[in-house]
């Protein structure tokens, strides 16, 4: 089985699914073209998240991640919630397959977007966010394998590709692993890729 028991539990019985009609903040990330899209709704009282709900279009991992993020976030202060990282979510879920790590990134991102949306509404325009900077500390692997299929990577220097997956690969500046050139974030560590 590619997924842990915890992932399957959150996938089959996701917590906090739904929409909050009078939400204090809403965050949406991803898009259906890439396969995952998440919308988070939050209610805030005294700097604490009193309710979190989500809707997710995506695979088993995406649904489990959303559920776990919502569970981790409820009751937390905004700063604590902003400190929830993809790594922590994946860890709480008992791990995720390598090629599904980006799902955990999306979940944390969607929550953070909802918090920022709340803060912006509260304070006007402030773009600054308190925490949430991710450290790329995936174990560095020898960059010889495609991160998706573990197959050999073709090409030299700047043009790398996995022929099996039919994708162009670039090295992630954060963790040094290969990731799909077309993606917005690194498949291994979740760091955002600048185009």
């Amino acid at each position: 089985m590619i997924y842990s028991e915890k992932v399957m539990d959150h996938f089959s019985n996701p917590r906090n699914v739904g929409v909050i009609a009078d939400a204090d903040g809403v965050g949406q990330v991803g898009n259906p073209v890439c396969g995952d899209m998440m919308t988070f709704y939050i209610k805030v009282k005294d700097d604490h998240l009193t309710d979190v709900k989500f809707q997710t279009f995506g695979c088993g991992a995406a649904i489990a991640v959303s559920s776990m993020v919502s569970e981790m976030a409820i009751g937390k202060t905004l700063a604590e919630a902003m400190a929830i990282t993809n790594d922590k979510v994946a860890e709480e879920l008992g791990g995720l397959p390598k090629n599904k790590m980006h799902c955990s990134n999306l979940g944390a991102d969607a929550l953070h977007e909802a918090i920022k949306n709340y803060q912006n509404k509260l304070m006007g325009v402030s773009k600054e966010s308190s925490a949430g900077a991710q450290a790329g500390h995936e174990e560095h692997e020898e960059g010889c394998c495609c991160p998706y299929c573990d197959g050999p990577v073709d090409g030299l220097e700047d043009v790398c590709a996995c022929r099996h997956c039919d994708i162009e690969l670039v090295e992630c500046p954060e963790c040094g692993n290969y990731t799909n050139k077309a993606d917005a974030s690194c498949v291994s560590c979740g760091a955002r890729m600048t185009k």
Partner: protein, 393 residues
Amino acid sequence: MKRIYLDHVAATPLLPEVIEAMLPFFRERFGNAQSLHADGQVVLDAVEEARTRTGRLINAEPAEVIFTASGSEANNLAVKGLASARRAKGTHLVLSAVEHQSVINSAKSLEKMGFTTTLVPVDPAGTVHPGDVEKAMTKDTVLISVMLANSEIGTIEPVAEIARIAQGRNILFHTDAVAAAGSVPIDVKALGVDALSLAGDQFYGPKGGAALYLKKGTRILPLIEGGIQEGGRRGGTENVPAIVGLGVAAEIARKKLDERAAKARVLRDELIRGLPAKIDRVILTGHPQNRLPHHASFVVEFIEGEAMLLSLDMKGIAVSSGSACTSKALKASHVILATGIDHATAQGSVVFSLLEDTTAEDIAAVLEIFPPIVDRLRKMSPLYTQFLKEGQT
């Protein structure tokens, strides 16, 4: 809980007769088919009997059957081996856009050695139009490869017509019949193909037992060089148990093919009718009639295939999906995209492929179990919420 296995396209169970026939070749008949002593010769006889049986399934002579370890290997051998052998005549290949990875990636390998490839598009039903293949041909074309049937969308391609065009221009024609062989009648002479790939694990034979049909007198360069096995076209000691198993499965398929297909077609059509009747915004992929008899494939809007697959699995139903999330590279299926379905909708791919012992009760169970799963996932989906709100069409 009784499992309902509807993933024929991934693997079929082995028939008891097939297993029985294979067993002696794991035990007392362990000899090497190339040995001149009695222990070798008894094995050689079995390999040659399997060759005759495999050939008979597709109306080929025994000498025209080359055993391989998989359908992918047969496709690699055909594309690389035939193109390389004809290199002096030209370096252009024509493939359909919905070919299996083993065909497409073989062509990509050849591109590195100076070949060029033209991919012929398909229509929304997944059908390749012979006229489009003709347009794609150049003076330099040496090989055309168009599959007999597609495992993701089920569509059966007009291979005989395309083969005629190829023949008229003296261009070699290969068809990947891995998804079709054993499920639809195949006559290589009537089709007019020069090469055809098949795999026993698609018709109740073992994994590892597959073959390439190569028309008598067609030159090919081997991928695996070694001894004189397979007439020098595929070196390496024969995988005798798998070859014997393939032969028996081919023999049974030849006899039972029509009966299997007739039964599967009824149940398939039950799914094709039943699912859209019970679930809104579900689209049949592939051709509505001209498709594999055991194959019903759909895209379900607003939700994702892996989530459907896992949910069905928890209810004991095994299916496959061409969604990006089910592939390791997280890329949507090139086959579904080639039919003109957009990336987002392609994520909702789900493929039901029936076995010979699939029952009407199994299909009724799917029609009962699947709609609530779709419902549950849609309730979670922001896309569906948006659709309900905006009521877009």
